[in-house]
Symmetry: C2
Subunit: 629 residues, 2 copies
């Protein structure tokens, strides 16, 4: 138990035996892994052994809050979903905002570990100490938004916060997501990597939470001061689209046209990085659909926008989005410049429970195969598969969610779908480690590309976002240069691991600087060394290494730290990154060196793991011959 | 003020001046008009003078509860919407269940009178004594379900009950409805006659209510006993689909196949009364989509079913319906036998705020015009207008709601659309007084047909439902006989007017008998004479006459009490009512005699009006030459 204050509980629920138990969160785990993603990754490594099928009863899914979640500190009340990914077979960690995390924390829990598989559909209802496994037989099949409404009716609590899966998760779509807060209009998607499918495999439809407790804080006075300081930093008028001010004004799509000018806005499944319709789907274009600005739990930035499609075939669709990535996924990626269709696709994905990034990537992939004559319309249920086709978007989202017709193939993700389609399809499957690529073309940003290649959860822009290259945050670095990018990527990755474990919103933390959040961490936990951000960097590195070890144990090595061939072979044909291909090997060499890993295999070394206090991990990897000296 | 207990308040809100005032509900109004529809019709007659355009500031819209609303008595907590109808130009009264009515009553109000027109979109927020007109600028444009969610977020009260209009009401679709309770999954539609369009014309998006008061009751002990007695009656095992047991089991669609066997299930816009696909869309067929049974405020019958479409193009749509009428409107009427499309159409209409009966009628009308070559696909935006077309249903619902393309014509209702299309289109416009016909073909049930012809709100099955002819409730009457049908219709109409003013659910009241509700009325109000049902019949007649006077004052007379020509000219071609046409004139003669009205004109007589205590009404009609001696 920590001296000052913060020390919580872990709720462990076995869905087969229906056993519910509560464990104290150990202080050394907080000291070494903070919480959130770090806590979940540690549990995952320790409890889910190598070779477990992601859908087997032996996989677990962990929902974790962080030390700062639920406190008065702004922009930190997030939650993390951690599991073994059905897409990558490696570790899955996915973060989400909204209100669910704070509610869980107020109910008294830092994390929930879900084990095994239920016989029949269930959901979990947590009201402070009260924890109950309830039948979901009357809710199974519902879209997320409807499931929330019906659960609120069943538990007779309109103020509960609920996360759930939609039909996509139930039907084991490999990129099904976990969705919270649909009824409250500040939804939160733990979207990437297929957490929704893991929940579906366990027949777990939802977790409803109501928490009425007060969070124990070591130094409340200090916390109050820091709260004010952070709000001040966040409301400082900094110009630009990627600033608290820009986020308040336009939300994440504010930077879309700028990214397009850099020539790295992936268009028509990454055939080019310049989309001719970018001005129709960027922040300004979306402005006219904004009804209302909103925010996650305590956040003055209010980057969330509720947008309504007002005319044409998408009219009446409303969503608390779309974010930048979704504007790309259903915009440039599929050659569509109708912002109202993007709004519709966003709410469809949120409702059916699909990751918008993977879904848009999958649809763009099919459209390119069709463009090149590698598949026929008949193979795709006679849908119109031309670029920008509304028919394709609306029907494929549904077909994927229900595995209907071609949806059964596409529900597997681009990597597996390419194997099923055969021929040269794999060349057009834009993924790393099985996870579909997001909205930045790696040919135009070296560290960013390296981050995507080396991210522990597959092709991900958020695990080591090279803001230095794209936005000059906190300082500019030439995006085409090579030297130093391995080290930069390592630092970005370790820093993000800390934010994901506090759990601070990376947007806010990168823009205001994470140092002040370190002070908050000290004020909440009472752990003195947390106030020095550099002390935290070691924790970030530890988290990265235990995740890496999880993947290495599953059989990953250097050859998996790669990018789709297209980026290495096809120079960017036009725009702000014209002529560039992605560079990988020299960057990887530098990166492994910076990580203290073996350059040939990408395996961690005993020295590094022991330095991080992970001797037991080193011992295990060594036994299976997957440790470097 | 009544001696015993019950006596409430009327809330009057002027949207132009923003003046909010509260008036006592006078005892003599309760004694003479009960409440609900009766109260509203009295206010409408007194306050909205002849010739007022339904969309003008001089039209009013009244929301009224009844004396029983919000008490422990089961199946009575309904509310009424009263106005001048944009479809008929006559009186509009539309009833709805759910929870909104009880909440308004608990807030302390028997009725709300909305006057004039707001400059900009607003909604009203009532929390007991607190009444506030709030800007709806961030809610305008939203579907009903989304408007409720966003209002709850704005007022920070998840437990408020909200009624609202959707895009259809905002865009003045003449059959736009008023919808409550979408988020709570026991929605309530005051659907018929265009109340939603009147709200739209006033720029009133919604009324949110939270009531925490206790309802004052004259004789609580008696009420408790009666509550038990009614529940006992309702849960008595009576066989058949139209019984409390049948309603619990199948909901209102339980009788669909039976009505089809009678040969009066209107098919393909009333071309026949026998639908070959009836077994696919009746109670049994819908059973497999039921997720959950639910009920309005205090009702043991639980006739409401939450149904989910689970496969095919409608998959994922969920609705707390469809009711019998909707199964017809998007089933037989449009030649569709896919129950999942009916579920989808139901939730679309509820969300966009359209009356399902009128909407289905309109779509069937267009399909028949297309079948007969009276319009072209080009006139209808190249939609596939063949019978059963899903494309037509889904797109026309949206196009009507936004008045997009052909939707601008269809938004006017079949009567006006037929005038716009021209030619022989009017023959296929199945309406009375401008209101679209519901799901019973008048050729196979004489009193029912007469009820539809003479209903004060236009073609309506609920204002004098001849249950005797169709279900033998409370006793059988030959449906094809003529004699006595005028008197029967009058009695059914007066009786229903009482139920609509208590406000008892007509399903429950007809099945359990209304007499016990009369006792409840006495127990709540303390008015002794209410306990004799026959005493109430005079009130029912009074209500009917003041509504009739409203219409007569607007220019209606005997020629408006009619049926579409098709029923009078085309014998039913097949099925259980084969060979029959509708009979009108002899029935009308008998009906007017039973009503004590003038047979030639259909005008009320001074004698009748004075007998009912409506001398002031007689005086006014006389002045304009519209009173019979």
């Amino acid at each position: 138990m920590l001296k000052g204050g913060y020390c919580g509980k872990i709720l462990r629920i076995n869905l087969a035996s229906q056993k519910i138990s509560k464990e104290n969160l150990k202080e050394d785990v907080i000291r070494n892994f903070l919480g959130g993603r770090g806590l979940g990754s540690k549990i995952l490594y320790d409890e889910v052994s190598a070779g477990v099928d992601p859908y087997s009863p032996k996989n677990k899914i962990i929902f974790a809050t962080g030390p700062l979640t639920g406190t008065s500190i702004p922009s930190v009340s997030r939650f993390a979903v951690i599991s073994k990914s059905p897409l990558t077979g490696g570790c899955l960690h996915s973060l989400a905002g909204g209100f669910w995390g704070a509610e869980l924390k107020k109910a008294g829990y830092d994390a929930i570990i879900i084990e095994d598989v239920s016989d029949s559909p269930v959901y979990i209802w947590i009201y402070d100490e009260h924890v109950e496994i309830r039948s979901a037989s009357e809710i199974w099949g519902l879209k997320t938004i409807d499931a929330e409404r019906l659960i609120k009716k069943e538990i007779r609590d309109e103020n509960a916060e609920i996360l759930s899966i939609g039909p996509a998760g139930e039907n084991l779509v490999r990129y099904a997501c976990v969705v919270a807060g649909m009824t409250s209009y500040t939804s939160a998607q733990a979207a990437r990597g297929g957490g929704g499918a893991v929940m579906g495999s366990k027949k777990l439809k939802a977790i409803a939470v109501r928490g009425t407790g007060v969070i124990n804080v070591a130094n409340p006075k200090k916390l109050k001061e820091l709260t004010k300081d952070i709000i001040k930093l966040q409301t400082t008028k900094v110009k630009g689209t990627v600033s608290p001010e820009g986020f308040s004004r336009w939300g994440t799509p504010g930077g879309l046209e700028y990214i397009n000018e850099l020539g790295i806005f992936p268009t028509r499944n990454f055939q080019t990085g310049a989309f001719e319709g970018a001005e129709n789907i960027g922040g300004n274009a979306l402005d006219k659909y904004v009804l209302k600005h909103t925010s996650c739990y305590i956040c003055p930035i209010r980057c969330r926008k509720i947008r309504l499609a007002k005319s044409g075939p998408s009219a009446g669709n409303v969503t608390d989005g779309p974010e930048y990535e979704t504007c790309w996924a259903f915009g440039g990626q599929i050659g569509n410049n109708d912002p109202q269709l993007i709004i519709e696709a966003d709410i469809l994905c949120d409702s059916f429970g699909l990751d918008t990034i993977s879904t848009g990537n999958v649809i763009g992939f099919v459209m390119e195969l069709y463009q090149r004559g590698l598949i026929t319309a008949i193979q795709c249920d006679n849908l119109d598969l031309r670029w920008g086709s509304r028919e394709a978007v609306v029907n494929l989202i549904r077909k994927i969610s229900y595995r209907e017709g071609v949806g059964a193939v596409l529900a597997e993700g681009v990597k597996r779908a390419a194997e099923i389609f055969g021929g040269n399809a794999a060349y057009y499957a834009m993924h790393v480690k099985g996870l579909e690529l997001p909205a930045y073309d790696p040919r135009g940003a070296r560290a960013h590309g390296l981050g995507i290649a080396t991210s522990n959860r597959g092709a991900c822009h958020e695990r080591g976002f090279a803001l230095q290259e794209l936005f000059g945050i906190p300082h500019w670095v030439d995006r085409f240069s090579i030297e130093g990018k391995g080290k930069l990527t390592k630092e970005n990755q370790d820093r993000t691991a800390i934010y994901d474990s506090m759990i601070a919103c990376v947007f806010s933390a990168f823009m205001t600087g994470g140092e002040i959040y370190a002070l908050a961490l000290q004020a909440v936990t009472g752990i003195e060394e947390f106030e020095i951000f550099n002390n935290l960097m070691l924790i970030g590195e530890r988290i990265w290494n235990i995740e890496r070890a999880f993947n290495i144990r599953e059989g990953f090595d250097r050859k998996d730290d790669t990018l789709p061939k297209r980026f290495l072979e096809e120079p960017m044909p036009e725009g702000g990154s014209k002529g560039y291909v992605a560079v990988l090997d020299p960057l990887l060499d530098e990166y492994y060196l910076a990580r203290g890993w073996d350059v040939r295999t990408g395996f961690p070394t005993r020295r590094k793991l022991e330095e991080l206090g992970l001797k037991y991990v080193a011992d295990e990897l060594e036994k299976s011959g997957r440790l470097a000296r």
